[in-house]
């Protein structure tokens, strides 16, 4: 009971408790890092089912599975760097970071901008009062 109470009060403890059964998020534990090939395969099958993935060939599936395994490790890293959120398997878990950027991002950053406002722009917002 003391352990449970300590965990409830200090979620940091939960970060290092491995939980291979965790399918989605890793907020509660390990998942991903250190999983054996069979466990990764089980996670990947679950991912395919959940997000309706089918791949053109066995080679493509094997490649996507390796990307997925890398993303499990990445999610775990993100979980450590961002403990207030839950990170884990998402619909993007079979995409490399580069593929993800190409397909789902697309903000063109303006050169020469400071704080999102172009120097000397006539579109700079006036300062609003915030004390009332």
């Amino acid at each position: 009971a003391a352990v449970v109470e300590a965990e409830a009060e200090d979620p940091l403890i939960l970060q290092v408790v491995p939980d291979a059964k965790e399918e989605g998020g890793f907020g509660g534990g390990g998942g991903g890092l250190g999983l054996g090939a069979a466990a990764v395969e089980a996670h990947f099958v679950s991912f395919e089912r959940r997000f309706g993935r089918s791949y053109a060939s066995a080679e493509e599936r094997a490649h996507r599975r390796s990307v997925f395994a890398a993303n499990l490790r990445r999610a775990r890293r993100h979980q450590r760097l961002d403990p207030g959120a839950v990170h884990g398997v998402t619909q993007f878990s079979d995409l490399t970071p580069a593929e993800f950027r190409r397909a789902f991002l697309g903000l063109r950053r303006k050169k020469g901008s400071v704080g999102g406002s172009i120097l000397g722009s006539s579109h700079e917002a006036p300062i609003l009062p915030t004390n009332d």
């Binding site: 993100h78 961002d82 990170h87 998402t90 619909q91 950027r101 697309g106 950053r109 999102g116 609003l128």
Partner: protein
């Protein structure tokens, strides 16, 4: 400023949309801001067309002739607002539905304009100013570094380290005062962000990120838009 604020509670935010495999986040950010501004101007919430921006907005930055809005290959919300000022406005989602591809020609019909931009502004990197502009003008188009969003499932994101290189356009719809931050052992304020990756991503399509230190560059590219009332034929 209120300690908590959410434009969804005021009916100013349409349902979560899905950009598909197309780098058109900037168009969803821009249209979402105009949807909110149009709601404030007219009292009616209309879902507006992103595809019109994808197909028709090729506006370039005056200072960088080669930096233009390019459909699924990316764009910028402020240049989208420039396009909207010039073109007259956005059609509704129903009249110009989203396809998630940018190979088609522009089918913009001026007679079907559902919302028009009156003016737009960029907001300084000051969280109080961002909150004030949010409350006064409606949801804000913002840029963010999306590196943690690929694996995000829920909660308040507050990474120790996150690049401030902006690569994703989203919509700031509100803020809260008390999201629990386990590493700091206290409640931390956060922004509420509408994304365009469908409802199955994140918290029903939304992302919460902590306020206070420009995490992931969230405070550094913020623009607000105001709308004029239009009559639809």
């Amino acid at each position: 400023l209120p300690s908590d604020f959410d434009w969804r509670d005021q009916g100013a935010v349409t349902g979560v949309k899905n950009q598909g495999s197309c780098g058109s986040c900037w168009s969803f950010s821009a249209s979402g801001a105009l949807e909110g501004a149009n709601f404030l101007a007219t009292g009616k919430l209309k879902s507006l067309s992103e595809q019109q921006l994808v197909d028709c907005d090729h506006e370039c930055d005056p200072s960088e002739a080669d930096a233009c809005d390019q459909g699924c290959n990316g764009g910028l919300m402020t240049t989208a607002f420039e396009y909207l000022l010039k073109s007259g406005g956005l059609e509704s989602e129903a009249d110009y539905p989203y396809t998630g591809t940018d190979g088609g020609s522009c089918k913009f019909d001026k007679s079907k304009i559902a919302a028009s931009v009156k003016n737009f502004s960029v907001v300084s990197i000051d969280e109080d100013q961002i909150a004030a502009n949010l409350v006064k003008h409606g949801p804000l188009a913002i840029g963010i570094n999306a590196v943690f969003m690929q694996t995000y499932i829920g909660g308040v994101s507050c990474p120790y380290i996150c690049g401030r290189h902006l690569d994703h356009g989203v919509l700031l719809v509100g803020y809260g005062s008390a999201g629990y931050s386990p590493i700091r052992f206290k409640e931390k304020p956060y922004w509420i962000i509408k994304n365009s990756w469908g409802e199955s991503w994140g918290e029903d399509g939304y992302y919460r990120i902590c306020r206070g230190r420009n995490v992931c560059g969230v405070d550094s590219m913020v623009s607000t838009v105001t709308a004029i009332q239009t009559s639809q034929k």
